[in-house]
Symmetry: C2
Subunit: 151 residues, 2 copies
DNA sequence: AATAATTCGGATAAAAATGTCTTTGGAGTG
DNA sequence: CACTCCAAAGACATTTTTATCCGAATTATT
């Protein structure tokens, strides 16, 4: 409804990494397993986040991915601008390329306030807060795998 | 950000049909031209809306598409449930299949109120109202085609 | 009856998103 | 140095979405 799978994986992974002790690289394989997500595909996404400076990656033994220093406060919006592209915030709900107060689609004036709510929510949530919420144990980062039924 | 192209085309087309005199079939070709959208693809979408009872279609000369009687009050939500599928309203922003008050993702309690706003907006807007808005001339249904520069 | 205009239905194609595999090279360990 | 564990990088495959094409059926007009 709002985000691509790629974005969902990226956000989940970043939150998970933020829950881990900082400075200790997290394995792509572990993240993928924890989130129940295809490992190779996730690796692609994480590599992309590295390129954009959100993560650091380390090769070799004891390698893995770390949140780059200072990036714990990264907002969801900042992440989504990377994964969904820079037009993420600009969309008209009917798909018009040019839809503004001056050139409005018939939904425009009803949609804009709702969109603002969405954007401000995404702006105010950051990885650190979300990670803390997960660490309380009250929230889930991924669906329970079928295996969890066996515990 | 929220809707697939298919949904956007469907909504635009339905609003356009609703602006036309009722009872007179509207040509797929005319709609496509007006909205600047691929005609063959649009035809598929309209056929699908016929199947689901939103439109009537007429073959042959003087054929075309009409809003079915009583369907002027159709809400955007009803349209989107057809074009996006019945899970449209159920989505968790992080993509969890099972995300409820009891099994919440870390965004859940912040996201739900915003989602409610989106859904109630989509529920309260209907084709007739949107068509009226377009008929005032204050709103656009499609981007201006390049050709419009020549007028 | 012939013709022209239109939707219908199926086949096909192109593009984008998602997912997989394989090779490479860096980094620690013995 | 040789070995092993790891991510990087890129090629490849699959699936979904978007788009095109064509023949057949239908209808009004001539």
């Amino acid at each position: 409804m709002v985000l691509s799978r790629t974005s969902q994986y990226a956000v989940q992974a970043l939150i998970y990494i933020a829950t881990q002790p900082m400075g200790e690289p997290v394995l792509n394989r572990d993240i993928a397993e924890r989130l129940n997500v295809p490992a190779a595909y996730l690796a692609k996404i994480l590599q992309n986040l590295c390129k954009h400076g959100l993560l650091d990656s380390f090769r070799g033994r004891l390698g893995g991915f770390c949140l780059r220093e200072g990036m714990h406060r990264t907002s969801l919006m900042q992440v989504l601008l990377l994964t969904e592209g820079p037009d993420f915030t600009k969309s008209c709900i009917l798909g018009l390329k040019d839809c503004s107060d001056a050139t409005a689609c018939p939904m425009h004036f009803k949609w804009v306030p709702v969109k603002k709510k969405i954007l401000s929510l995404l702006n105010e949530m950051n990885l650190e807060e979300l990670a803390k919420a997960v660490l309380t144990g009250k929230y889930r980062l991924a669906d329970l795998p079928a295996a969890a039924m066996a515990t």
